[in-house]
Symmetry: C2
Subunit: 196 residues, 2 copies
DNA sequence: TTATATAACTAACAGCGTTAGTCTGTCAAC
DNA sequence: GTTGACAGACTAACGCTGTTAGTTATATAA
């Protein structure tokens, strides 16, 4: 019955901790309450609903991923920056599997929150692409393409799709990035993608 | 109490129907039973568990996606085949959103089933890539890269990541494919990806 | 006609997120 | 120092989820 010094912050931190330790599936109101040494309904004194909590976690995760990318491209430019960004992105997904999954499942967030999170994740890529002298529309296209490659790769790697074939996953990832860079350079130099 | 002519087949078909109509989230044992005009526990006379049912649906969805790809590349070769495959893949994901999502979440299947499904989806890409004269390891790499692009793109499009920026999603997709093809041709002609 | 297997049923359990209503410990005001 | 109010804990309960056990009725084979 005594006040236990639990706040919205505390709950959020503990939820993140549980996700980091045991994965997304292990996060339930019951587990969360137990970890905080509280009865389940008491959580609702600090958090409106599971969905809202998830939105908070998602915001946090997006910000972490953004910071990881920003740190990676800092002081670097163009191809070097993009390479570092891609590596940092993959490292983040591997080291924070649970958080990355939350980042991915933005679909069921309210539109404003989802937009914010999406922008936070996309920003570093725009930053790195800005050194190539593309116009705004082309930047959007190439940002989408790079994110597709990176995210698609990581999703499938996580899902175990790459386990069934005997070829280095790391090499595949490097090749994918070089494929992107060669396409990007072809656009800039040859302009072969224009008029579409 | 009368026998109602329900079989494992019937249940599977109805489950797929529900997913197609109302999305993955709408599939529950209760809804499924109701649609079949049966009490929920009666389902267990035909299906062992929700997980097993999901595995069956997943197998079905993977086969459908495989057929869509095979039909697309039939009679075509190389770049034309890959273009058609990519378009068919996206069309499938758009027209069968629920089924495609099931296809994606193979991760929690048993390993053998997941391997089968993954192979079914990957096969058409291998088929289309086989006309480029790549060795086996390179085929695996390029298959992974193409799947990453396609799947990553579709996942993010579905999640609404592309809604926030004013540029044609269709054009982005076409550019992504051309990016892949130019990278692939650079590999074949220049051999610039060797020795990695 | 009888026996057996199939497939329906009801009742129940443990888990989930969530709400309503209650009690209590802490802090501010008089 | 006593009182009042609020924050934060509680218990009890609801409807949902998947699932199991045990029972009953029907259809088919002997």
């Amino acid at each position: 019955m005594a006040q236990k010094g639990i706040s919205r912050e505390t709950v959020l931190r503990k939820a993140i901790e549980l996700i980091e330790r045991n994965g997304t599936a292990a996060l339930s109101m019951r587990e969360l309450a137990e970890a905080l040494e509280i009865r389940t309904p008491s959580l609702y004194n600090h958090v409106k609903s599971m969905g809202e909590l998830y939105a908070d976690i998602s915001r946090y995760a997006a910000e972490e991923l953004r910071q990881a990318q920003l740190a990676a491209i800092k002081g670097k430019s163009r191809d070097e920056a993009l390479g570092a960004l891609a590596s940092a992105y993959r490292r983040f997904a591997k080291e924070h599997t649970g958080l990355y999954k939350v980042t991915v499942s933005l679909s069921d967030l309210r539109d404003d929150a989802s937009g914010q999170a999406a922008a936070a994740i996309a920003e570093p890529i725009f930053l790195a692409l800005s050194k190539y002298g593309l116009d705004e529309e082309q930047m959007i296209h190439w940002q989408r393409i790079l994110r597709s490659i990176i995210h698609g790769f990581l999703t499938q790697e996580e899902a175990g799709f790459f386990r069934h074939y005997p070829a280095s996953v790391e090499v595949s990832y490097q090749m994918a990035l070089r494929c992107f860079l060669s396409g990007l350079h072809a656009e800039i130099e040859g302009g072969q993608y224009e008029g579409q």
